[in-house]
């Protein structure tokens, strides 16, 4: 049995759950015998802004193209994705996919709809549910948290400049966490209070929220029409944390997994990008490994050129310019290489994450086999809303057929990939927004 520090101690686990009937979290991390044959199905989506370096094949900088050379099963990576070579058979790279609804939007506007595909323009910026949240709703009660939403900029940002990839039931943005310490405390932090006082506190919270809901409804009556609409966000939030308190009560007896924080840079922030990005990936990995959640999204940077704190990452790491400027310069002399090196750096971070998934055994394979990782952007190169750089890794046990470089025409909407992902995750989906079917090429 592994002695990894984040593995639960089986004894404590059993003692505290004795006599309690619960839908238990996945047990692999304890090395228990009664493991479901296939590990839990998980998904993660990681987004980078402003697209990638895509010099033409005949350009002197062609080897800095994000897209591989070749097609189908016969393809080789260029410099940018070189670090993903060990995963060539665990992933598929896509060319040509994009959201038709995004093609009419402004160049900076499309991060909002990367996982939703929504029609999102004119004055009416109402988004719809993102695929990760659909999956989260489906997996529902099986984990302590239904999803982990992260971004470098944090919060929700503003419509067309979203700082989150995740949108809930009514298209309400789900605020993204951006501080590693806070995420860690939430997922793995040990509450020093006694079990009894925690239970008491949750019980009180339950009564509180009941009354609050009553009270808020009477407040609502006295509001003007427009305020009422705004106020519904509040009511919805009260209802939602009522459910969460309920859920916490049921999870109270199951100790939070113990995780070794010493190798994590929990106090890293936007001024230390190398540690920060690494830590964000590590947190997703740990959340998955401990089965604290099965759904995670991470937006590396939003497309609010002027205000994104992630903008200066490449500057701080020695890549010379802000992300936005690098992206703008991709077809200037030497620009493809400059942006390509940044693409390369980001791919290396992804490779680190995939390596951890792949090196962690689960059931009769690795964690990567049952984790679908979507990675990419919603621009091809700067401000161009076609032909997104995208790749899908992992999930071979979920019925994905990898090891391909697939090219599509504009007629295939990106939502076909979304539908394919959802179905493989066991979230039965016939159609999603403007989808026209599944991507049969990647279905095993």
């Amino acid at each position: 049995m592994s002695n990894k520090p984040w593995h639960l101690n089986r004894r404590t686990f059993l003692r505290s759950t004795a006599g309690v009937s619960l839908s238990l979290p996945f047990l692999e991390c304890m090395g228990a015998g009664e493991i479901a044959k296939n590990g839990p199905k998980r998904m993660c989506a990681v987004y980078f802004p402003y697209g990638a370096s895509l010099p033409k094949n005949d350009s002197p900088d062609a080897n800095w193209s994000w897209m591989p050379n070749g097609e189908g099963r016969d393809f080789t990576f260029n410099n940018s994705l070189k670090s993903l070579e060990p995963f060539q058979n665990d992933l598929t790279v896509f060319k040509g996919l994009s959201h038709p609804n995004g093609r009419k939007m402004g160049g900076h506007d499309t991060a909002d709809i990367w996982l939703t595909g929504a029609q999102f323009k004119g004055g009416n910026f109402r988004n719809s549910t993102s695929i990760d949240q659909l999956a989260a709703q489906h997996f529902g009660e099986t984990t302590r948290y239904s999803s982990l939403t992260m971004s470098t900029d944090g919060g929700v940002g503003e419509p067309t400049r979203s700082s989150t990839l995740s949108f809930g039931r009514n298209g309400q943005p789900v605020p993204a966490h951006n501080r590693p310490r806070l995420i860690f405390d939430r997922f793995f932090g040990i509450n020093a209070d006694s079990m009894k006082s925690q239970r008491q506190e949750l019980k009180t919270s339950g009564s509180m929220l009941d009354l609050l809901l009553d009270h808020s409804k009477s407040v609502r009556k006295n509001l003007g029409h427009q305020d009422q609409q705004k106020f519904d966000e509040y009511l919805e939030s009260v209802r939602s944390i009522e459910k969460r308190v309920d859920r916490s009560q049921r999870w109270l007896d199951i100790p939070k997994p113990e995780v070794d924080a010493s190798k994590l840079h929990l106090d890293s922030d936007e001024s230390t990008p190398a540690e920060y990005i690494r830590t964000m990936y590590d947190l997703i990995f740990l959340a998955f490994q401990t089965d604290s959640t099965r759904v995670a999204t991470y937006q590396l940077g939003n497309m609010n050129g002027a205000t994104s704190v992630a903008g200066q990452f490449p500057q701080l790491l020695g890549f010379g310019n802000k992300i936005h400027s690098l992206a703008h310069g991709w077809n200037k002399t030497g620009g493809a290489e400059k942006l390509g090196k940044w693409d390369q750096y980001l791919a290396e971070q992804l490779a680190h994450f995939l390596t951890r998934l792949k090196e962690t055994p689960e059931a009769d394979g690795s964690m990567l086999d049952s984790t679908i990782v979507l990675y990419g952007s919603s621009n091809s190169n700067t401000h161009n809303n076609n032909d997104y750089p995208l790749l899908l890794a992992g999930g071979s046990k979920l019925g994905l057929n990898h090891g391909q470089f697939l090219k599509f025409s504009k007629d295939t909407p990106l939502t076909n990939l979304h539908v394919t992902m959802l179905n493989r995750l066991g979230v039965p989906t016939e159609g999603f927004v403007d989808s026209t079917g599944e991507l049969a090429e990647i279905v095993a």
Partner: protein
């Protein structure tokens, strides 16, 4: 119903008082162009791509599909896709009319859709307001908002806009946790904790790698260790120190950090910085609360004791060596006991005579400090009252009612109190103590909408606007000028109906502006209006600026805040924002600007600028210049957009999708000056439409490099080498006015754009005061305010009176 036409023309004016960008008329100006260029393929005969333009609705407010089609058409024109290659090109003039009409009409349609009819959308307290309000309400300073997700700003960059601020389950969850934590702190139990008072005179040393000393120079730190310490409560650390000053150099600066937790490796947190100005031993005080700092674990710590770290933060921009390795001969006994002389390497710390020093005599820790027990923050909840003897429930009623009145910022009805007491009644039987049950009940108050939002219930029929209640007015005023809840005096003035008379209102405003809390207004408004956070988003490239140190960034931002505060508090003309003969500087900023004989300390002082200084006004401040640069060079477009948006309230249209990069066939393009590059860029008519109105504003500032220093030459990397070019700041402003450099630009603004600038400040300040987007229905009141503003010599105080007295502010 107001006609579309009138909306269109008025909205154009909201952003630009001079109405520079008049939207053309469709029938007379636009239709002929469409007939001529588009109708062949998108007209009665053919409808390529199913698009017909000549009959397409121009009412973009009610006809959404038409708006979409016009939007597509705009993009196609901008991209040069339409008209197609085999058709005659649009003339520059026609293209401009067409795109201006589509853009303007779309913009007004969007504005109309977003319009709230001039109503403030129920405003949630933003993170800073929440932080301040909790602090004032509970009487304990702590970081209440630390876990809340960042707030969404409005289009104008304001973070107090009701429509933009949202609520989410996560947010509410943290409000609840924060309320519980804060109340647990405010409510105490048991006998008064014992006060600890310890003095240390010696620095603790953990390893030889540290220069542990009482004499702090370029290197060196004093680490005070206190083996006894409380877990919570306020404390004071008194440092007795003296300075060894150096003629002509800044004061040494004592930087204190406090707390370190070994087992979790939680780093210490900053306690404060103070200039040490006297050569006489003087006692300097730092105050804090234990809860805000990492507190050493008492059980399993390898390094027991609570630590305070003192350093000399003196910085004159000169980088020095702090240590060298020396070889010293030492006597060593070998195994046989024989004495040998061996050479050993040792670190020697270098003293620099030109660095002023701080000598630490002693450091004293005192805490927890309570003026009384139970402390005031407890007794303001558990009031001394006769009801204490009348049974718990009656006393609870009084406590909760009193707390609600302050939390809701208005008198509360008995029924409201009863409704909160339902929780108390429910949980009291299972709560360990009376205090516990009260704490949870008050936590419920703190997550109620009445606390978290500025609730202004509808009183009329919902159609016409109605007057605010006195307490609603007090709250608006308080969040405007203090970013927090009304204090007792303002609350009382509201209760006595004293805020309606303009004179009494002015008295309150004067009192509020004189209060230290008004710094919260200065900080919030200046940060958001001028986007001072931009400074944090630019990383300066050390290849270009070898001496650069990020440590100056906070001073740059502070300069601008102090500049605003100086103009506000001394009733100076707001035209000083354009150009001034003084600057607000501290030592680092004066050094950065090369201003001699300026302040010696870190405090900001008013400095009269030398006649030959290019400084004066916002546009010459490093915060603005750096924030709108690339970190290597200036960014004339960003600077231009900043001027048009922030100073003239006339933001240019956002760039169209799929912008072609700034590039040219010319192999020497990279070697051209920015001004020349931009000229080439404007050769493309699609770019020129907008950019001739943008670029010149930024080019005028070309004499300032990325970090805001004056330059006559631009250094730029070409390959691995640096090349230089002359800085070119001569340009032609829209309207044909030729200027050369920042001084000309300032003169131009003062002479020709004074009204627009005044109007911009009025709009920004009013938008901030109201917490909502301005709309065309606000026009006439904004006009009136602008007129008053100019009559009052552009002083901000009378403008604040005017805003507070306006119908915009006083109705809902």
């Amino acid at each position: 119903m107001i006609s579309l036409r009138s909306i269109v023309s008025t909205i154009a004016c909201v952003s630009a008082s001079t109405c520079l960008a008049q939207v053309p008329d469709f029938e007379t100006d636009v239709r002929p162009i469409i007939e001529k260029h588009c109708a062949k393929c998108h007209g009665p005969e053919k409808q390529k791509s199913k698009v017909r333009l000549d009959t397409l609705s121009t009412d973009l407010i009610s006809d959404r599909p038409a708006a979409e089609t016009w939007h597509d058409a705009l993009n196609a024109i901008n991209l040069g896709e339409m008209p197609p290659e085999d058709e005659p090109e649009l003339s520059s003039e026609d293209r401009k009319i067409l795109t201006t009409w589509i853009r303007g009409t779309l913009k007004s349609a969007i504005a109309a859709q977003k319009s709230t009819g001039g109503e403030v959308i129920m405003r949630r307290l933003n993170r800073m307001e929440y932080q301040n309000t909790m602090t004032d309400l509970l009487g304990i300073k702590a970081d209440y908002g630390k876990n809340l997700p960042p707030d969404t700003p409005s289009e104008d960059g304001f973070k107090n806009n009701g429509a933009a601020l949202s609520m989410s389950p996560l947010q509410l969850e943290y409000y609840l946790a924060s309320a519980r934590e804060g109340l647990s702190r405010a409510i105490v139990s048991g006998p008064p904790p014992e006060k600890i008072k310890i003095t240390t005179t010696e620095s603790t040393k953990k390893s030889n790698r540290e220069n542990s000393t009482n004499r702090l120079g370029y290197s060196g730190s004093f680490v005070g260790k206190f083996l006894e310490f409380p877990d919570e409560g306020a404390f004071i650390i008194r440092v007795k120190a003296r300075a060894e000053l150096v003629e002509g150099k800044a004061f040494p600066r004592l930087k204190a950090t406090f707390g370190y937790r070994a087992d979790t490796q939680t780093p210490s947190a900053e306690l404060g910085e103070i200039d040490i100005i006297s050569s006489e031993a003087t006692t300097y005080e730092f105050r804090g609360r234990m809860e805000q700092f990492p507190v050493q674990s008492r059980t399993q710590s390898k390094y027991p004791g609570q630590l305070v770290m003192l350093e000399n933060a003196f910085d004159d921009g000169i980088k020095r060596k702090d240590k060298r390795t020396i070889e010293k001969e030492v006597e060593v006994k070998n195994k046989k006991g024989k004495v040998q002389i061996k050479k050993q390497k040792q670190t020697e710390w270098i003293e620099h005579d030109d660095v002023p020093k701080i000598v630490i005599d002693s450091v004293e820790f005192e805490g927890p400090i309570y003026k009384s027990w139970p402390p005031e923050h407890h007794t303001r909840i558990f009031l001394p009252s006769a009801n204490r003897e009348n049974g718990e429930l009656i006393y609870a009623q009084e406590i909760v009612g009193n707390f609600m009145t302050r939390a809701y910022r208005r008198p509360v009805e008995k029924t409201e109190v009863q409704s909160m007491l339902r929780l108390y009644t429910k949980i009291r039987p299972t709560s360990a103590t009376f205090e516990d049950a009260i704490r949870d009940t008050l936590a419920l108050v703190l997550v109620s909408p009445d606390f978290l939002y500025l609730v202004e219930p509808e009183t009329g029929d919902g159609k016409a606007k109605t007057a605010l209640t006195d307490h609603e007015l007090a709250s608006r005023l308080s969040y405007f000028l203090w970013s927090t809840m009304p204090d007792a005096a303002l609350f009382e003035a509201a209760s006595n109906g004293e805020l309606r008379a303009p004179k009494k209102l002015a008295t309150q405003i004067d009192r509020m502006l004189a209060h230290e809390k008004s710094w919260q207004f200065v900080e919030q408004f200046t940060n958001q209006w001028l986007d001072l956070a931009s400074v944090d988003r630019v990383a300066v490239n050390p290849d270009y600026y070898a001496d650069w140190d990020d440590i100056i960034k906070p001073s740059m931002q502070a300069e601008t805040r102090h500049f605003f505060a100086e103009i506000l508090r001394h009733d100076l003309s707001a035209l000083n924002f354009i150009d001034s003969d003084f600057a607000m500087l501290n030592e680092p900023m004066a050094r950065h600007y090369g201003i001699k004989n300026g302040p010696r300390g870190n405090a900001f002082e008013r400095v009269t600028l030398p006649a030959d200084s290019p400084r004066g006004g916002l546009m010459t401040q490093a915060s603005v210049l750096l924030g709108n640069s690339t970190g290597e060079d200036s960014h004339p477009i960003l600077r231009a957009v900043w001027i048009r948006e922030r100073l003239l309230n006339d933001p240019p249209a956002p760039p169209p999708p799929n912008v072609p990069p700034l590039e040219s066939e010319d192999p020497n393009f990279a070697k051209l000056s920015v001004r020349k590059q931009l000229e080439i860029h404007r050769n493309d008519p699609a770019c020129d439409d907008c950019h001739r109105g943008i670029d010149p504003w930024g080019i005028a500032l070309e004499n300032f490099n990325a970090i805001g220093n004056w330059r006559t030459e631009i250094r730029r990397k070409n390959g691995k080498k640096f090349i230089t070019q002359p800085a070119e700041a001569q340009t032609e402003l829209p309207g044909g006015h030729t200027i050369d450099g920042v001084a000309d630009l300032q003169d131009f603004l003062k002479e020709h754009r004074k009204d627009q600038f005044a109007r911009a400040i009025v709009a920004r300040l009013t938008g901030y005061a109201l917490g909502r987007n301005l709309e065309f229905t606000d026009e006439s009141e904004l006009d009136a305010l602008t007129e008053q503003f100019s009559e009052a010599d552009y002083q901000l105080r009378p403008l604040i009176y005017g805003i507070a007295n306006s119908d915009l502010f006083q109705t809902k």
